[in-house]
């Protein structure tokens, strides 16, 4: 147990020191990464990119039926 805690502590300190001693460019790109992930996963995903089949059908069977209908009747 002690060895696991010690290993986790070392991993934590590794990342903590890495982030706290980060260079100018490192801090800049992390800011960009966080803004980008927010835009992609919060704004775009929630407001613009909902899964079409998930949104309109409740079950896998309904999704199958819908797509089968599309495949048969699309012109």
């Amino acid at each position: 147990m002690d060895s696991v805690i010690s290993a986790l502590n070392r991993i934590f300190r590794f990342y903590y020191e890495g982030f706290s001693q980060m260079s100018w460019w490192g801090k800049r790109v992390w800011i960009i990464i966080l803004i980008k992930l927010f835009v992609i996963f919060i704004i775009l995903r929630i407001f613009f990119f909902q899964d079409f089949l998930q949104k309109n059908h409740d079950t896998e069977g309904q999704k199958s039926e819908y797509v089968l209908e599309q495949l048969i009747n699309s012109k």
């Binding site: 980008k36 990119f49 599309q70 699309s74």
Partner: protein, 518 residues
């Protein structure tokens, strides 16, 4: 073109996907190539302990890190688009797409994310050996991530290893190995990653040339040019070799695309390979589609036949033969494929009716037919043709295919020359005095990106109208959503990616100007 009610929706959905993919591909190839160059430099540092090699490694690693970080997650947007804009397609491909993309996600997360942290935070904290191993694992992991994406893309170009289940309206994977070792996937993977190596090499060569022009960091620049020159020359030769292999594969798997990028209309023995040419619209037509004539061309006699069939007597089918059929060469006409596709589609309709009427015996019988190899080979493989209204609709844009292919090939030979000259001048000790060449190298940084994008334009535009070759056209794949929302997100992406690109370029230029000491 098709009897689709909303062409604007299809076109905007395609434009949005193209925009995202093109921007995404500005970040990826540098990661693929620069990761290996950094790993090679660190290996030399590990072996000889020279501080200058460590300094070099850390400098190029910084530029790698900027590109890697800015590019992270730009590909996720493509997956969002599958679910929103291309839902019929996403459902139809089933687990064929899901499995490779899931493996890619796990690899990207565990290999890259873990070891990238060791690469950047681990100097003087982990052993030199462990740090080196981490750097190599990042390089290998990044390239393996590309493998799974390319396996998924290759399946769209040449669908194999699956069976269609009318009960779920999905394709089901029956052989993972057939999907993984799909001949299009193998050649596409090798061609694509070697083009990424080329991007990385030209990037290092160009920036090092700038240091020599500025009379700064001369030792670092020369050593970097040595590594980039050798790696770049080998990569550009590999690109040429794998490009040739890819073309041979296309000649079998996507003959219309192959004929389009050579603007070849009629079947011929002893077919010439067009090295350079200019096209113009012809007065001749296939159906309502204009043909193209050459204004001028320089050809290599008989080489296309040699390339595809091994000798000059080999037949190379042209677009006319592929559309109208050629019984002497065993080529089925598109009209015949349309009939066979409709047979498969009618059976699908019959299956639905049988299920609705609770006619389980008939439904089971049809399911059995879709599992039968002969039915798949003779009918279901042409399923997508049932959506086509005129045979000529399966001809892709000949001019865009021809020019994107030839520009890519010409640039490929140019890269071989640039890397060979860089090494020649370096070994002769005359590199610094050849300022014209240093400027050429600096100005060439963008050209491998152009070549790579042309490759993707050819791969994707050259296979239109298909989203899955012969099985599903783009018009049948699109979700029934309003084109207005697709236009809005298209514009959002254009803004987002442009900001990201400007951020990357400005941070990189700042770091390059600061140089390795900082």
């Amino acid at each position: 073109m098709f009897e689709n009610p909303d062409l604007a929706l299809v076109d905007w959905s395609r434009a949005q996907f193209a925009l995202t993919a093109i921007y995404h591909w500005l970040f990826v190839p540098l990661t693929l190539g620069l990761s290996f160059i950094v790993a090679i430099m660190e290996t030399i540092y590990y072996r000889n302990g020279g501080e200058e090699w460590k300094r070099m490694t850390k400098f190029w690693m910084t530029l790698f890190g900027i590109n890697f970080a800015i590019g992270v997650a730009t590909g996720i947007i493509l997956e969002f688009q599958f679910g929103t804009n291309w839902s019929n397609y996403s459902w139809f491909v089933g687990d064929i797409f899901g499995a490779p993309l899931a493996i890619e996600g796990i690899l990207a997360f565990f290999l890259e994310s873990t070891f990238v942290a060791v690469m950047f935070f681990g100097w003087n904290k982990v052993s030199k050996r462990f740090h080196l191993v981490s750097t190599w694992l990042v390089a290998i992991g990044a390239n393996l991530s590309a493998l799974w994406i390319l396996v998924a893309n290759a399946w769209m170009q040449n669908p194999v290893g699956m069976i269609f289940n009318p009960g779920t309206a999905r394709n089901e994977m029956i052989s993972f190995w057939d999907v993984l070792f799909n001949e299009v996937a193998v050649s596409k993977f090798l061609h694509t990653i070697s083009s990424g190596f080329l991007v990385g090499s030209m990037f290092v060569l160009g920036i090092s040339a700038w240091y020599l022009i500025s009379k700064r960091e001369e030792l670092l620049a020369k050593r970097s040019i040595l590594i980039a020159g050798i790696f770049g020359l080998l990569s550009s030769l590999l690109v040429a070799y794998t490009g040739d292999t890819s073309a041979r594969t296309l000649a079998k798997a996507q003959p219309v695309k192959f004929a389009a990028f050579e603007a070849l209309y009629d079947v011929t023995q002893n077919a010439d390979l067009v090295a350079v040419g200019v096209l113009k619209k012809s007065e001749k037509k296939i159906g309502d589609k204009d043909l193209n004539d050459f204004v001028f061309k320089i050809s290599i006699p008989g080489f296309l036949s040699v390339m595809t069939g091994g000798d000059q007597s080999a037949f190379v089918p042209g677009i006319n033969d592929l559309i109208n059929g050629n019984s002497s060469q065993g080529i089925i006409s598109v009209a015949e494929k349309m009939e066979r596709g409709k047979t498969a589609r009618n059976l699908l309709n019959e299956y639905k009716t049988a299920k609705q009427n609770n006619d389980l015996m008939r439904a089971e019988g049809i399911l059995g037919m879709f599992r039968d190899k002969k039915f798949n080979d003779e009918y279901f493989r042409y399923f997508g043709y049932s959506f086509i209204s005129k045979p000529e609709d399966v001809i892709p844009g000949v001019q865009v295919s021809f020019y994107s292919f030839h520009l890519m090939v010409i640039l490929g030979f140019y890269f071989i020359l640039v890397f060979a000259l860089a090494l020649y001048f370096l070994f002769r000790g005359t590199l610094q005095s050849r300022r014209w060449f240093l400027w050429v190298a600096l100005c060439s940084i963008l050209l491998p990106y152009v070549a790579g994008e042309m490759g993707w334009v050819l791969a994707e535009m050259g296979r239109q109208p298909w989203i899955i070759q012969d099985l599903m056209p783009v018009s049948a794949a699109v979700s029934q959503i309003g084109s207005g929302s697709v236009i809005i997100t298209f514009l959002l992406f254009a803004v987002l990616f442009t900001i990201l690109l400007i951020a990357e370029i400005s941070i990189m230029i700042r770091q390059i100007k600061l140089g390795p000491k900082h």
